[in-house]
């Protein structure tokens, strides 16, 4: 008697919570292989640093973080990371806005789709392959220097990569599609009626563009710059190849400390600083993105 009642309860429980089975595989995967590893990384960063030892020492300390702050090598890397990422977001904004505007205002479906496919292809193509092209273009024996020397405009190659300029060009190439995609939605959302109203009140097209369209695309501009900042500061491959390990940024130090020096705790601490810097800009980005979503009819 009791048995059937138990069974009934079990069945009722099963039927109520059965949908949870749908999410269980993904949830278990994320708990074991995402939450636990990321939390462990944070724990390790606050552990006592011992070279070559990964296991937990259990002595909590800020030593690694103080070292990042005190050693100019690491502190400068953080400054370089932040300034390159900030420059990259400003430049992609200026370069990306016109194309985003053009795509948003293209009514012809075929042309619009074609332009979107171009941007998406550029975004989804493996960054290493895109960097191959950039390096052949910008290297000392590359196409630009080759052409300039061929036409006797310069005598010696000019340094277009293996320096900060090269890293910056690479970051702009890397993040431009993200900026364009962030801008298209908001520009498309601007009601043509607002622009027409300003025109009928006597504004010239130039005035309408600078005083109406640009201010109304501000949320997209803010979201795009923050997103580009976050992905630029996280990039390992661009500074590694375009900077030739001469421009040291945080992701390169993370790899070097772990893979080459076995300094697990210190490498994790740099990774934590990197993560938090990019997280702050992403949180602001999401706040802005929610405001955009809420503001749109």
């Amino acid at each position: 008697m009791d048995d059937t009642k138990d069974n009934k309860n079990f069945l009722k429980f099963f039927y109520t919570y059965r949908p949870v089975l749908l999410v269980l595989p993904a949830l278990i995967l994320f708990i074991i292989f995402f939450i636990i590893p990321v939390v462990s990384l944070f724990v390790l960063a606050f552990d006592k640093p011992v070279t070559g030892v990964l296991s937990l020492q259990g002595e909590w300390t800020f030593k690694s973080f103080i070292r990042i702050y005190n050693r100019s090598l690491y502190f400068n890397a953080a400054v370089t990371s932040v300034s390159l990422a900030a420059l990259s977001s400003l430049i992609t904004l200026v370069i990306g806005y016109p194309l985003a505007y053009l795509i948003a205002k293209t009514e012809n479906v075929a042309r619009n789709t074609f332009l979107m496919i171009l941007v998406l292809c550029a975004m989804q193509l493996d960054m290493v392959i895109r960097l191959f092209g950039l390096m052949v273009l910008l290297g000392d024996n590359g196409l630009i220097n080759g052409a300039l020397m061929y036409f006797k405009i310069i005598e010696k190659p000019i340094g277009l990569m293996y320096n900060k300029l090269g890293v910056l060009i690479g970051l702009v190439q890397f993040s431009l599609p993200f900026m364009i995609l962030s801008l298209i939605g908001i520009i498309r959302g601007i009601s043509p009626a607002v622009v027409e109203a300003s025109r009928s009140l006597g504004a010239t097209p130039n005035q309408a563009f600078w005083k109406i369209i640009i201010p109304l695309s501000m949320p997209g501009i803010l979201a795009g710059t923050l997103l580009v900042f976050a992905i630029s500061i996280s990039s390992y491959i661009v500074p590694a190849l375009m900077g030739g390990w001469k421009v040291m940024v945080m992701p390169l130090h993370v790899y070097q400390q772990i893979a080459e020096m076995g300094k697990w705790q210190f490498g994790s601490a740099i990774a934590v600083v990197l993560f938090c810097t990019s997280l702050i800009s992403v949180i602001v980005y999401q706040k802005v993105a929610i405001r955009i979503g809420g503001g749109r009819a």
Binding site: F34, P37, Q124, F132
Partner: protein, 275 residues
């Protein structure tokens, strides 16, 4: 309309077109250079170019290094695509359909690998694999798991978007006519969201195929994805054979995006997230 205004329209239009041209050049010129390098007849691409040939394409087919990396990445991307599509679609159905407490938190959790720097996620997983010593460090399953984490957000994003757009009344109509919940879902809902599911899996494939950051700590000489193989060769020299491998990767991306454009409306696609 006065002449001055007309001129202004033209100037503004010119500025937009000129700027767009610059942006498109920055996006596409590196890609064209890779194609040119892979098809040029010299030992490397120089100015002026020497001429066209297929020698590097043939060299790629004979190259142990790049061909095996290409095939490795292709196989890995197929497995990752299959697993991510199954896990991600089921999770997306749960997130959009059922109002359990904390569902929004769950959604944020599943999308968060997109915002975590790839190298940080790769490092966190590598440390986890090494310290738990469960045989996943520098192993194939370990790499599959890492790729699943970064591709599932794309599947969950696209599938939930198409579930949001689906009219629930259709499924309820089928239910009221006597279909079981599972049958109604299979015969009515699934065909309607199948485009979203397929678009999500195409994204999962291409993101895994081009994945560099999380693979960096996972790769071994036996398990080398194409981006890692290209990276190691690029550190020392510009091999046209690598560019020939790049041509095939470019073709794969173009085909994937053409398929995506047929499956989902790219005009409604805005922002990096798919909702």
């Amino acid at each position: 309309m006065s002449k001055k205004k007309l001129k202004e329209v033209n100037e503004l239009g010119f500025l937009i077109k000129f700027g767009s041209g610059i942006a498109l050049s920055i996006l596409l010129i590196p890609v064209f250079i890779v194609v040119l390098t892979g098809l040029n007849s010299g030992d490397h691409l120089t100015f002026p170019p020497k001429g066209l040939s297929l020698r590097w394409i043939f060299a790629f087919f004979k190259s142990e290094e790049f061909l095996s990396a290409f095939l490795f990445s292709f196989g890995l991307a197929l497995i990752v695509m299959a697993l991510s599509t199954i896990f991600g679609t089921l999770a997306a159905i749960f997130i959009t359909r059922f109002n359990f407490p904390g569902v929004q938190l769950l959604r944020a959790l599943f999308l968060s690998p997109l915002i975590l720097p790839g190298i940080v996620l790769g490092l966190a997983l590598y440390i986890f694999y090494v310290s738990t010593d469960i045989g996943l460090a520098r192993s194939y399953p370990g790499m599959v798991i890492a790729h699943m984490l970064v591709t599932m957000p794309y599947v969950i994003g696209t599938v939930s978007a198409s579930l949001f757009n689906f009219d629930l009344n259709l499924e309820q109509a089928a239910r009221s006519l006597g279909a079981s919940p599972l049958t109604a879902f299979r015969k009515v809902t699934l065909p309607n969201i199948s485009n979203g599911v397929m678009a999500g899996s195409v994204f999962a494939f291409i993101v895994s195929f081009g994945q560099f950051d999380v693979s960096l700590f996972m790769a071994t000489p036996n398990n080398t994805p194409l981006p890692i193989a290209l990276y190691w060769s690029l550190r020392y020299t510009f091999e046209p054979t690598a560019a020939a491998a790049g041509i095939f990767a470019i073709a794969l991306v173009v085909i994937s995006m053409l398929i995506t454009s047929k499956l989902v409306n790219l005009q409604k696609f805005s922002g990096v997230k798919f909702d």
